[in-house]
Amino acid sequence: MNSFTRGGRHRTATRLAVLTVTGALAVSLAACSSGRGGDDSDSTSTAAAGGTEVTQFALVAPENESDFGYNQAGIEAANEAAKELGIEVTVVPDAGYDNIETVLTQVADGGAQFIVAHASGYGVGAASVAAATKVPILIQDAGSEQNVPNQIASAKPEGQEGGYLAGIAAAMSTTSKKVGLVLSADNANWFAMSSGFAEGVYSVDPSIQVLYTSVGPAAYADAAGGKTATEQIIASGADVVFGMGDGATQGYLQAIDAASNVKYIADIGDVTPGLSDASKLLTSVRWNYEPAYVAAIKDVEAGTFGTVTYPVDVENGGMYLQETDAMTPEITAAVEKASQGIIDGSITPTIATSADEVAAVIAAKKGA
């Protein structure tokens, strides 16, 4: 999902388009004065001691909403947060990973009073831009030690919680007693979701076999590899597959579409448009960044931004399972019960940080 290695792709034309868009953005943001702030002097006025009233913010994402996942979730959340707060948002998709300091600086110079840098690979560049421009930037997946008051704070998805809920749904849906995990990259969030998923499965039925496969260390966009891995996991007998993969998701969906009696669990976004038969979607572990963005913007205005990390979790509605026809009332009830357990702390899914740790959780059948 997010790593520097993905930035190695040759996407020259897209980069040029992004630079053009950000240039135009700089002009348009500078010229724009509508929204909550009123005129320019208002937009920089202090809303609270040490805070800045936010009338316009921006989200910079490495890809666009067609990934059915991470980028889609960020862009949708930014639009929803803007709607909720009655402010303006400018979305800069397809920014890639190269020259991110330039993109963020142009966005800041264009008048954005708060920026969401929607990729963990943006962390280093975002920190230097925030320090130079004094525009607060929300980065991703960083520890609290990277917080800098009024400059940098992080949004942190609690993927293990969503994975746990998905595991319950998978365990209650499988008839072959085999469920599969397919990852397209070595990604901390996906490892956490995978360990949570395995424990969720075992909490329902420890006899269920959890199969695991990875397309590659950074094969985020490898649709062909994704299809191959998913086909093989289905051939091994899995009839519920939990796929995590950005562009590789398209490969997963082709394999799911071609198989019979197999259900798919997506992550982060809504993959329904990508399936020819929508009934094959059991659910999706949806990530909703809106609560995190709204809280961060309010903290910018209060002058407290950079003092806390903003969770994307079950408790604040940032992590939940998508409703589908395949989610029976029994599954929904079990998921709701587990959600309460996560909120009250009686259920604490393991946070795996590597493939080996995921394998250990799968082998240990913890959660049973």
Partner: protein
């Protein structure tokens, strides 16, 4: 581990090997013909991507996979026109033009896809299979090999036909002469320009078909950078195969095996790092390069523009 031995799993495994091998095989055969004629096409990656995208759009529009394959071949030829005009006809640097074609292919297909399919990514579905009576009933290979689509068999026939033509026909002899000693071909009354032009057109058509096969049959969709370096692997395989198309076919199958084996091991519970899985096909190619480097022979005139009378 017992999961690996089930009929269903082995069937899918064999089918995966084939699905991964054929795009590479088509591109490698195309590159073989080009290189034997003396034209090094480093733009193969870009040509494959253009072929894949054109095939994807055509199939999506018409609903017909055969039209998609044909369009992929045409797209490949069009993409290779830069090689034809700038390299063969004008004698410009083949390496520079080839890399430019790769970058253009990667960029233009990514931009067009993101422009047109961002909101509603499309699936092509599966190409109807063509079971061969009797043979398709054989366990494992019956489903994996003898129940492939018609396109698979056409591709195999084209490849075998080209292998025969390159080895046994006057056209094949002329093509190899254009790469070995173009002045001899010229002196014998043959046209080096025409021979190389035909080779470049075939190179483009086959690379385009390789991309089309990857999009239509292997992946059933298109995504930016779909080829993932396949074009460059095809160039290496071509150089290792010394112009022998049958060796190209075998080497492509080894590549398909390398791609399929990683996920298979993981699914069976064997702990294989994702890095190894992704590296395996490339590692095998590197090992082959090391082992067979001494026996790899490229045509003496490869990469050199031909100018009558020039020394």
């Amino acid at each position: 581990m017992s999961d690996l031995l089930s009929t269903a799993f082995v069937t899918v495994f064999v089918a995966t090997v084939i699905a991964q091998a054929l795009p590479l095989m088509l591109a490698s055969v195309g590159e073989t013909i080009g290189e034997q004629a003396g034209v090094l096409n480093l733009g193969l990656e870009g040509v494959m991507l253009i072929g894949a995208y054109v095939a994807f759009v055509t199939t999506l529009t018409t609903g017909n996979f055969w039209f998609g394959m044909l369009a992929g071949a045409v797209g490949g030829v069009v993409a290779n026109l830069a090689m034809l005009v700038l390299n063969v006809w004008l004698g410009l640097n083949q390496i520079v033009i080839g890399l430019a074609v790769t970058l253009i292919g990667e960029g233009i297909t990514s931009v067009l896809y993101l422009q047109n399919y961002t909101k509603s990514p499309a699936s092509l579905g599966s190409q109807p299979s063509m079971p061969i009576p009797g043979l398709s009933e054989i366990p494992v290979v019956g489903q994996a090999v003898f129940s492939q689509s018609g396109i698979f068999w056409v591709v195999i026939l084209i490849t075998l036909g080209l292998a025969f033509a390159m080895a046994r026909t006057n056209w094949g002899l002329s093509t190899r002469s254009a790469g070995q000693k173009p002045s001899s071909l010229d002196a014998a009354g043959g046209s080096v320009m025409r021979t190389r032009s035909i080779a470049v057109v075939l190179n483009g058509a086959l690379a385009g078909m390789g991309g089309a096969y990857l999009a239509l049959l292997t992946t059933s969709t298109f995504s930016p950078m779909l080829t993932n370096g396949l074009g460059f692997i095809a160039i290496v395989i071509t150089m290792l195969s010394r112009g022998r198309i049958l060796i190209v076919m075998i080497t492509s199958l080894v590549y398909g095996l390398a791609v399929a084996i990683g996920p298979a091991l993981q699914v069976s519970g064997v702990s294989v790092p994702a890095d190894i899985i992704k590296m395996l096909p490339f590692l095998i190619v590197i090992v082959m390069l090391i082992v067979f480097a001494r026996s790899s022979v490229v045509p003496p005139a490869l990469g050199a523009a031909y100018s009558r009378g020039a020394r």
